[in-house]
């Protein structure tokens, strides 16, 4: 196993470091708020001559993603980063990137969307982008954000995938807090990610191609969407394979989902991102107190959604709570709840699932709130009726 260096840095610096090691040809970014310090750090590498990247500062996130699309179609390895309103402004181009099958890698610092104005963590930005055809990976820690970025590079450019990948980390909690983690040497990363080998590069003048064509008026638009669906379905095994290869190098496990304590659990919590730590911490406390035996399922890969894996993990639970850090206004519950309950539908014995919307706009995810949720689960497991509708955990 290659030697690793333990460093203390913010999640953003871990991501910027991973990007430097993946050596993108082009990075296009809007350099003003809500931009992250990922691109600020990367700009420093450019100024210091540490990277060969063509660094393009543009006038908006819409332009940032457009420049990424052009550069990726030209054949470049392309990376960028954004957050909240910035991701929202990229919207239409997110669909274009995936529809054109361009393996762009983007880090997103998960932050709330206005209004009211708020800059703190929640998953409203990325959950709104969940149907744009991008693969979506989530990190709990700075370490996972580092690992996800490097894996994303391989996954996006895999010939069976060729789709853009978004790697998400929780705004401020993970992006700005200093965390301990390990980085590996440049040569190991370079060997792992390899070079991008584009099949249809605009800059390949010996084999000229046209990108961005029309498929309407009875044309094959429907068929193109079908092949996009096939590609994201295929990507699931690629994510698993790449995750396994990376784990063998760095010694850190990776799965589409990561489970804790499920073996003997009566109830379980499904969670994404930094709050998984709180969920595990309280589950541990309850076990030590002789209370509820709870397990925790953390989603690392949200698109493609690991439905079968989740159903297998939660089979036989007496109650399941889903923690949603985003709304799906007017729907039965938050986005993760909708996916989770749908994944559990085919189980022979019905598992009661309760949805908790929590932490919107950076609202504190206090341990007593977690306790309250586990107490509800315990009641349901002992025969109480599961509450109807979603609950706002800790909202007044």
């Amino acid at each position: 196993m290659p030697e690793q260096k333990t460093i203390a840095a913010t999640g953003n610096i871990f991501v910027a470091e991973a990007m430097r090691q993946c050596a993108p040809d082009v990075m296009a970014a809007y350099p003003i708020t809500p931009q992250t310090t990922i691109v600020e750090e990367y700009a420093k590498y450019v100024a210091q001559g540490k990277v060969h990247t063509e660094y393009v500062t543009v006038e908006s996130e819409h332009s940032a993603m457009s420049a990424c699309v052009g550069a990726s179609a030209a054949g470049a390895r392309v990376m960028t980063a954004t957050s909240s309103q910035g991701l929202a402004l990229m919207w239409e181009v997110l669909h274009i990137a995936s529809g054109m099958r361009l393996p762009i890698i983007m880090a997103n610092a998960n932050r709330a969307l206005s209004a009211p104005i708020n800059i703190h963590c929640d998953h409203s930005d990325v959950m709104g982008a969940r149907d744009t055809g991008w693969l979506i990976l989530f990190a709990e820690t700075a370490q996972e954000a580092y690992d996800n970025t490097i894996m994303a590079c391989r996954i996006a450019e895999d010939p069976d995938v060729l789709l853009p990948v978004m790697t998400c980390l929780d705004g401020f909690i993970t992006t700005h807090s200093i965390d301990r983690g390990q980085t590996i040497d440049d040569a190991t990363v370079a060997a792992f990610v390899g070079e991008r080998k584009p099949e249809y590069a605009l800059l390949d003048t010996a084999n000229p191609v046209a990108h961005g064509s029309f498929a309407g008026l009875g044309g094959p638009f429907f068929e193109f969407k079908r092949s996009q669906r096939d590609a994201i379905d295929r990507s699931k095994s690629v994510v698993e394979r790449v995750g396994k290869e990376w784990s063998e190098i760095v010694g850190r496990p990776f799965g589409l989902i990561e489970t804790w304590g499920l073996e003997d659990a009566d109830v379980a919590v499904v969670v994404i991102g930094s709050s998984a730590g709180n969920a595990r911490h309280v589950a541990r406390q309850l076990r030590a107190e002789g209370g509820t035996k709870a397990g925790v399922v953390k989603i690392r890969c949200f698109r493609p959604f690991p439905s079968r894996e989740l159903a297998a993990a939660l089979k036989g639970m007496k109650a399941v709570a889903v923690l949603d850090r985003a709304e799906s206004f007017g729907a039965e519950g938050g986005p993760l709840f909708l996916e989770t309950r749908s994944a559990l539908y085919d189980l022979e014995i019905r598992v009661p699932v309760v949805d908790y919307v929590y932490g919107l706009g950076g609202a504190d995810v206090k341990l007593e709130l977690m306790r309250q949720m586990y107490a509800d689960l315990s009641d349901i497991a002992s025969g109480a009726a599961a509450p109807e509708g979603l609950r706002y955990l800790g909202a007044r």
Binding site: G99, M100, R101, L102, L162, E199, Y200, N207, P208, V209, A210, H211, G212, S213, A215, P220, E223, F224, R226, S227, D230
Partner: protein, 114 residues
Amino acid sequence: MSDPKWDISRINEWKAEEFPRGAVIPEAGNSKYYRTGGWRSERPVRDPKVCTQCLLCWIVCPDSAIRVADEKIAEDTFDYDHCKGCGVCSNECPVDAITMVPEGCELIEGEKDA
């Protein structure tokens, strides 16, 4: 026109996986195989006796449908496979040498200025 390298003759039968990924067109300059002349309701006709060979029509034609040979407007002036009948050439011609004629009608001598 030579045959295209990329054979799309059976495109209406292709399955999703047979299309080039991401709607890429893997051959350059093949738009010429798409005949847009059928869109035309009026066609341009040039009077070589009036034409001064200024080449303005060749410059303004948005479909590159005006033929030039030896730096002169060719006798066989219009590429009717691609001319959409927009009339820009006729409008821009400084000596009114190009007349738009409804499709299906012949230009009748003497009616040009009527």
